[in-house]
């Protein structure tokens, strides 16, 4: 805000409280969060420019996606948490129907059916589920006393279970993990009992064997086996992970320099635009770059957590907390899988990986978070 604005408004004095609000308050956005997100997007475009072999068209396209997504974020920020709370159950039912529809009339590639085509417009209902899931669980829990009793906990688990299974069987393991996580975070933040958490863990461990045997697809099992021993199939299943580790490791502390990464520029690194883009960054900027990126993520997550704790309404608090924690899961799973810590499950690096759909989903989440924050500031004033 400029000095002249300030001088002109002060003498009039008698204006309504509304007129004293800053631009960001009027737009219902958090300037700190916006700055951090724009910074991250800028870093993403720079890395993408390198990963795409200096292809300006790819960067421009991603820039357009980002602009659209940021506009959507601002629009979403105008919604009040109460509105979201009211719509949550209907959105959930709609989402389940769409997910079922994907199973019957979806389109896809590489043996997975993930897309729904509506009048020439293609989208992934599983992306919607990433947001509708925490909204629904938050709606359900916040309309009952917390911490949730065993009954509500069980009901919440059913809410989480149905879309997760529908997405996992598309099959899209990465997205289903994110969906399940977003629901679980709401449950955890809502105060689900520790006894339940530990017994659930015990059950999960016991269920691991039947999962391996009957639920996981061949390609998923192969991915896990490859992770355990990537050297076994250097040109086939192990290629991706060996090449990405080589890219990361050869970057060293200082990196090879922007546009100088040989692994990515010589096509050794697969999926360098999308899921494996962190390897390009690690190769060209070194460990320094990786740590700075992690710091940026930490700031965003820290700001998000702080916003969620400020919320006075239970629904907004639970939803905001879940959104920001899920954001961390993106970062952790992506950086873990590319560096060979976790199986390759297909989770993008948020705001850096190329791709429009996940970008919109992520920024809608931040829009919701900003809406929650804006309401809080309103209450304070």
């Amino acid at each position: 805000m400029s000095q002249s604005d300030f001088l002109r408004q002060l003498p009039s004095g008698a204006g309504p409280m509304y007129s004293q609000r800053t631009l960001s308050q009027r737009l219902r956005i958090d300037p700190v969060m916006l700055f951090l997100l724009l910074l991250l997007s800028g870093v993403g475009l720079m890395v993408l420019y390198s990963a795409s072999d200096e292809n300006a068209a790819v960067v421009l396209r991603q820039g357009r996606f980002l602009s659209v997504a940021f506009v959507v974020m601002v629009l979403v920020a105008q919604l009040h948490p109460e509105q979201l709370q009211r719509w949550a159950p209907f959105a959930f039912i709609g989402c389940i129907l769409l997910l079922i529809a994907v199973h019957f009339m979806g389109v896809g590639a590489k043996g997975a059916q993930r897309w729904l085509s509506l009048g020439g417009f293609r989208f992934q209902p599983s992306e919607l589920a990433k947001l509708i899931m925490p909204m629904t669980v938050a709606w359900y829990l916040s309309s009952h006393p917390l911490p949730p009793s065993w009954r509500y906990t069980a009901a919440s688990l059913v809410i989480i279970f149905v879309p997760t299974v529908l997405v996992a069987t598309q099959p899209d393991l990465g997205t289903s993990i994110l969906i399940a996580a977003s629901g679980m975070f709401v449950l955890f933040l809502g105060g689900i009992s520790w006894t339940f958490i530990f017994s659930a863990f015990g059950l999960l461990l016991a269920a691991a064997w039947p999962m391996w045997e009957f639920v996981l697809h061949d390609y998923q099992r192969r991915r896990i086996l490859t992770l355990l021993n990537p050297e076994s199939d250097k040109l086939g299943a192990g290629w991706n992970i060996i090449q990405s580790k080589t890219a990361i490791g050869s970057g060293g502390f200082e990196g090879k320099g922007w546009l100088m990464g040989t692994q990515s520029h010589l096509d050794f690194l697969p999926e360098s635009h999308t899921d494996f883009i962190i390897a390009v960054l690690a190769e060209e900027y070194g460990l320094r770059g990786v740590l700075l990126l992690l710091l940026l993520y930490a700031l965003i997550i820290g700001r998000g957590i702080w916003i969620s704790t400020q919320a006075k309404h239970c629904f907004g608090r639970l939803l905001g907390g879940s959104i920001i924690l899920t954001f961390f899961v993106y970062v952790f799973v992506n950086m873990g899988m590319v560096s060979g810590l976790l199986p390759v499950v297909g989770v993008p690096l948020p705001l850096v990986s190329q791709g429009g759909t996940s970008l919109v989903t992520l920024l809608v989440g931040f829009g919701i978070l900003m809406g929650i924050y804006a309401d809080e500031r309103l209450v304070h004033q």
Partner: protein, 621 residues
């Protein structure tokens, strides 16, 4: 948490907020631990294992590529190119870049001709390939085929046209038995060659001169460090060490003389070898019928190879080096010289020839080729000029096998000549020792009689016969015949194996005179060659029996099958006062040494002596 009563339905917002903050605190701790895991993982990869991955990354992108040296060229004595390197285009496939191999092969099959043999060989090579290696599918693409493939490239990703320098023999089948050929390195050869020096080379000398001088012709491999991408495409060259090309070599061979010999032999089976007696250099070496060595360079097709193998005239058989024939009467000058050397006869010594010869106390008759014989008194000159058999039966009997063997050895008979070529065979100069070792029996005097006329056990290659003639021409200098004259302009000397200084000049004169009589005497067996001769020639005819004719039976060429007719031989050197060329000609089933083999030798000598600059200028003076 457990303090909240179960039934309470009112929401305690303060408490909910407190629970949320505690839970979020747990989450933050968890997040920090997980972030710590990520940081330590990236630290491990980028700091602790940096060296490993740095090496791995360099190995990915930088490859040491061998550069094949250019194979040395081969020229004749006048600088005519006999073996060169021409670009050849090969259709290659990178398996990793082809999704549906059978589909791609089908498309290629529609565009250009692909034989089943091509596909079968390709699939064999496919099994032995390295990842991202270009595997050849079809060799020697025509200009048109290259164009068709180029236009349709988008339909067949992973298929490419590769240019290489390959051996080419511009003279076709003229020099196949001299040069041999190169071919693709076989798995067996792979084990014996230097893997480094041959890392960029696809071809190796398989036979003939190409094999004998492989080390000389091949050169030394060069290399370059290249940066390539994951698809194996070379992006830039980081460092380059040029290969050392193979040496260009010049042969003693005269391509024009070879051509004349080839034309003169038209349609006949046999061999022609011409040697320069002064140097041992091989002026012409021909085996007919021949074959096109170019067929073997890119890998001969099964069909073509079977056709060559099953040909009754044996085109792949190098008669000049490997054909072992009875030298027949062409050895008579040698034995006459031996007779004088050992003091058994003088040029004036006369033997009676009633048409046959019998050993004392033996009734068996060794017949002369001429019914009724050559007269009651035949001297050495006559015996050679008219090729009297009985004279040499008697002479051989008197010399004995031991002296014949010793003397024949000094002319290079009975062992390989040591020519710079492959697969040479040594013929057979029989001896008592040989008979004992191989047959386990004594030497019978009757067997000496046959050796006297170059028959019986005696065998020699056309090359050996030419060498023996060259020894006569040079008056006792035995040289290993040499094809190679110079390497990169540096002359190469043929090794002198022996010099017969113990034989007096007068005896050489007598032999030369007798051999001239073959041409110039009215009854000489080579008299038909005299007409229009522009230099003085000394020669000897020969007729080698293919089957033995029993006593009392007549040799009737009409009734004999073609393949059982006698071989025709002729040896000569010229000009006799200063010999510059010694020639041996053998024509299988040609029957007449003077009439059939003689004209071929005459044509070769004419071509060499009359077209050669020093003779031509000498004539004019």
């Amino acid at each position: 948490m457990a303090t909240i009563p179960r039934r309470q339905t009112l929401k305690n917002t303060y408490r909910e907020r407190y629970v949320y903050r505690r839970r979020m605190f747990v989450c933050i701790v968890l997040l920090m631990v997980m972030t710590g895991v990520l940081v330590s993982r990236y630290t491990q990869l980028q700091i602790l294992d940096y060296d490993i991955y740095k090496t791995q990354s360099d190995r990915n992108r930088i490859q040491l590529m061998p550069i094949a040296p250019k194979r040395g060229l081969i020229f004749d004595r006048n600088g005519i190119l006999l073996a060169e390197n021409i670009p050849s285009y090969t259709l290659t496939v990178i398996r990793e870049r082809v999704d549906q191999l059978d589909e791609t092969l089908a498309i290629i099959g529609e565009l250009i001709e692909l034989s089943d043999d091509d596909i079968e060989q390709f699939k064999k090579r496919l099994r032995r390939r390295r990842p991202y290696e270009e595997v050849p599918l079809k060799f020697r693409l025509s200009e048109k085929e290259i164009a068709i493939i180029a236009v349709n490239r988008h339909r067949i990703p992973g298929v490419d046209v590769d240019a290489q320098l390959v051996r080419h023999y511009p003279q076709g089948e003229l020099f196949a038995h001299v040069l041999g050929y190169v071919g693709r390195i076989s798995e067996r050869e792979q084990d014996t060659i230097d893997p480094v020096n041959y890392s960029g080379t696809h071809h190796i000398g398989k036979i003939g001169l190409e094999k004998y001088y492989e080390d000389l012709l091949h050169g030394t491999v060069g290399y370059q460090n290249v940066e390539s991408n994951a698809h194996g495409r070379i992006l830039r060259v980081l460092e380059r060490h040029d290969p050392l090309p193979g040496g260009d070599i010049q042969l003693h061979i005269d391509a024009q003389v070879q051509k004349v010999a080839y034309d003169a032999m038209a349609g006949r089976r046999g061999a022609v070898v011409a040697i320069d007696p002064k140097t041992g250099g091989v002026i012409a070496m021909l085996s007919t019928p021949s074959y096109d060595a170019n067929l073997f360079v890119g890998g001969i097709s099964g069909k073509d190879y079977r056709a060559l193998q099953n040909d009754n005239d044996l085109p792949l058989y190098n008669r000049a080096l490997q054909g072992q024939y009875p030298p027949a009467s062409t050895v008579k000058p040698l034995w006459a010289l031996a007779g004088m050397y050992y003091g058994v006869v003088t040029p004036a010594t006369r033997y009676a020839d009633p048409g046959f010869f019998s050993l004392p106390n033996d009734t068996r008759r060794y017949r002369d080729w001429k019914r009724g014989g050559h007269g009651a008194s035949v001297n050495m000159g006559q015996a050679i000029a008219e090729s009297c058999d009985v004279y040499f039966y008697e002479l051989a009997y008197k010399l004995g096998i031991d002296r014949l063997h010793d003397f024949g050895t000094r002319f290079g008979l009975g062992d390989v000549t040591g020519i710079d070529n492959t697969n040479e065979r040594g013929g057979l100069l029989p001896s008592r020792q040989w008979k004992r070792d191989t047959r386990g029996s004594h030497w019978y005097p009757g067997e000496t009689i046959n050796v006297g006329i170059g028959q019986g056990f005696m065998l020699a290659t056309p090359l050996q016969i030419a060498v023996a003639t060259s020894v006569l021409a040079s008056r006792g200098e035995l040289r290993a015949p040499r094809l190679l004259a110079a390497v990169g302009g540096e002359p190469v000397e043929a090794p002198l194996l022996g010099k017969m200084e113990d034989v007096p000049e007068s005896q050489w004169d007598a032999i030369q005179h007798s051999m001239e009589e073959v041409i110039y005497d009215v009854r000489g067996t080579g008299r038909s060659l005299r007409k229009g001769l522009q230099y003085r020639m000394a020669g000897k005819t020969g007729t080698a029996q293919v089957i033995s004719i029993a006593a009392g039976e007549e040799y009737d060429s009409e009734s004999l099958e073609k393949r059982k007719r006698d071989h025709a031989l002729f040896v000569a050197y010229a000009p006799s006062e200063d010999p510059q060329i010694a020639v041996a000609v053998i024509i299988e089933n040609g029957e007449s040494g003077g009439g059939v083999a003689g004209p071929v030798a005459r044509a070769v000598m004419d071509a060499y002596l009359l077209n050669s600059p020093d003779v031509a200028s000498g004539e004019q003076q």
